[in-house]
Symmetry: C2
Subunit: 408 residues, 2 copies
């Protein structure tokens, strides 16, 4: 079960003026489950996107990038689960185009104004006929309140739907931000995560929307890992419908910071929800690396720890086998690392310093921290001012089970 | 159980003139098991070593490097299992020195002529008294025929002892090579592997012995991974006792190649044995990456695949979920990779080409290959002449079990 992930209560996710969501059961991989989502975006909105850096990126990712460049207004997103449309060559591209064409006809917009997204098994052909058949149901179902249904419709091995929302004030006008995400395995986002869609009714220039997207990504989805596998389909889309009635934000001022901060909170909620629902997860682990020479080396150390199967299995067992953490710091590839300066804290317990076990450390202190479901570790490199925080989960029998059984 | 690892029959490992092996039960971590090994090396031998690049390298590794530099003749190796003496700071160094001192007194040699090795749990104090108590038993037990006992004495989570041997002819003289290794988890050697000790009675200069060691390491221990965790204690030692009676090899000639080839065969046997006995392994997987621009990029692709938990669990399940392999190729970080040129073969079956599933590929072909315990995959990048081969294993419930239980 997801680690301390609060169930979404109906009404907890604010509708966003200008956004409607329609869900259908298109029987793409399994019968009788929500697997197709249409998100419509009113005229005058602005859309920004970041995508996976995987060279084998999926056909819909290629098409999204093309459409974002070629038209001034994106008017709809179409998302299917059950098939990633990745590793599908020319035919995959044609199928993604055909999906956009079908959406454009139903909504009387251009095909290039549609962004397509897919998630599921790689190397399998997109069942285009099922998707086209399901589309008219998504149109009939369109409603601004369907955020939680939408979160359910994009799940794959996810156990729980993931959504987050904030309300802020800009120039005394209420501004809303809502978003959904999916992802549970193949999680090591590189520029974005599996799939996440966040919308706000705020009014902001395209340049600043792009800037927020980039900055927020670095502090949210690019700070998580479940298994170190970067997906072929990672996409994070940020939409601003410009309908909240305040003057357009056109410079990096207080309004910009207020909006960015709230969007970042939503994105961190969604990113952390992915880790909490990481395949087989029983622990939510925060890794803070501090006093590094630069942020890049802090991230290297943090991900070296977060990707170690030995550390992840020890956390699953609540076994403070903490020498494994030192080993992972040691092979992170940091130049001229002085190990005698490093301090390792588990919770508030000092575990290691001066190149070895701290004199004050006792096994029972470590065990006390390890038995909790939320654990923070801090590594002080003591060689600079930079720091970073990332989130990950443990590695359990169920991770193996889920991924050994995934396609069956 | 280890994957197709042949049991060692008594007498299958040749004794090496000038080498004796003594084993003791020193009760270091567990009572009543072989856990201490003394290897003596006769005067006139040459010794070469490579060690882990982990910054948190163990105290004995630091001492080995120092001793190899400071004396002309190494005369003994002392190896304990049950404690890695890593993450032990100043005290760890002092304990490693005390171990060498004790050996030197028993054998009437200098302390610097002893190389110490430790393997086991990190961040725990070396039980120096138990080791010193066990030493006299190792001396009494010294015998040139004790190779298999020696392989048993250095095991940690290993299920099977690992040893290999070859007999060759140089200048019409018989030359023997024998070696042992240990390792099962925390296996992603970087310049060497957990622990491996290979000896030959060949006669060769120090410079050429060093050259063989370096070249062989690149083709053997640096080509394996179990879990991507580089150990703090990796060490590979090559000894030439100069007793086989042929003229000293002092240039890169046919004799050099003959000797190097045989040592490489022993090292590959030992490296593959580590993978076959990888924690929880049920499959032995060979990954060949061909026609790359250079060897470095071939290795990047191969290890990207070999470290993916998603791919390793799919192999455990015998599930040809092969899109995961494309994803791992895609995130290997190869610049300007043209995915339409890549071909993926599983066994002899062409799975993917032109950026997607091969037209001839059927699921049942993939299933047929996946059900075997020895699987080879080939990735053709089709952009150059370089190639590499690495070996790994799958990822099973037992990996999690072993590593969740390791210290209990």
């Amino acid at each position: 079960m997801p680690v301390n992930l609060k169930p979404l209560s109906p009404g907890s996710i604010f509708p966003i003026k200008g956004i409607s969501l329609g869900i259908a059961k298109a029987h793409i991989k399994k019968p009788n489950r929500k697997d197709l989502l249409l998100m419509t975006i009113e005229k005058g909105s602005r859309v920004s996107g970041v995508f996976t850096q995987n060279s084998f990126c999926a056909a819909p990712v290629l098409l999204c990038k093309k459409h974002l460049k070629s038209v001034s207004e994106i008017r709809a997103l179409i998302i299917n689960t059950g098939c990633a449309n990745a590793g599908t060559g020319e035919e995959g591209i044609l199928n993604a185009i055909e999906t956009c064409d079908a959406v454009s006809q139903l909504l009387s917009i251009q095909s290039e104004q549609v962004l397509p997204f897919s998630t599921g098994v790689i190397l399998e052909k997109l069942p285009i006929d099922k998707i086209k058949n399901g589309l008219s149901d998504t149109v009939k179902n369109l409603d601004p309140h369907h955020w939680i249904d939408a979160a359910e419709a994009i799940m794959t091995t996810d156990i729980a739907p993931k959504a987050a929302s904030r309300k802020i004030k800009i120039q005394n006008k209420e501004v809303f931000i809502s978003g959904i995400s999916k992802g549970s395995g193949m999680i090591h986002p590189n520029m974005a995560t599996m799939l996440s869609f966040v919308a706000t009714d705020a009014s902001i220039t395209q340049t600043l929307l792009d800037k927020i997207l980039k900055e927020v990504t670095e502090q949210s989805f690019n700070c998580i890992t479940v298994d170190g596998d970067t997906s072929t389909n990672d996409s994070f889309i940020l939409i601003a419908t410009q309908q909240s009635g305040h003057h357009e934000i056109n410079q990096v001022n207080e309004d910009y910071q207020t909006l960015k901060h709230a969007i970042q909170e939503v994105a961190i909620d969604l990113a952390q929800a992915i880790v909490r629902d990481g395949e087989g997860a029983t622990k939510f682990i925060t890794i803070q690396v501090e006093s590094g020479a630069d942020e890049a080396e802090c991230r290297k150390v943090a991900f070296s720890i977060a990707h170690s199967p030995l550390i992840k299995t020890a956390f699953f067992a609540s076994d403070p086998n903490l020498g494994r953490i030192l080993a992972a710091i040691g092979y992170a590839g940091i130049e001229a690392l002085d190990i005698t300066k490093i301090q390792l804290f588990l919770g508030n317990v000092l575990v290691a310093e001066n190149g070895g076990r701290a004199e004050t450390y006792t096994e029972s202190q470590g065990q006390e921290v390890m038995k909790h479901s939320e654990i923070t570790m801090r590594i002080l490199l003591n060689r600079g001012q930079a720091k970073t925080t990332i989130w990950t989960c443990d590695f359990s029998y169920d991770y193996v089970k889920i991924n050994a059984d995934y396609r069956t």
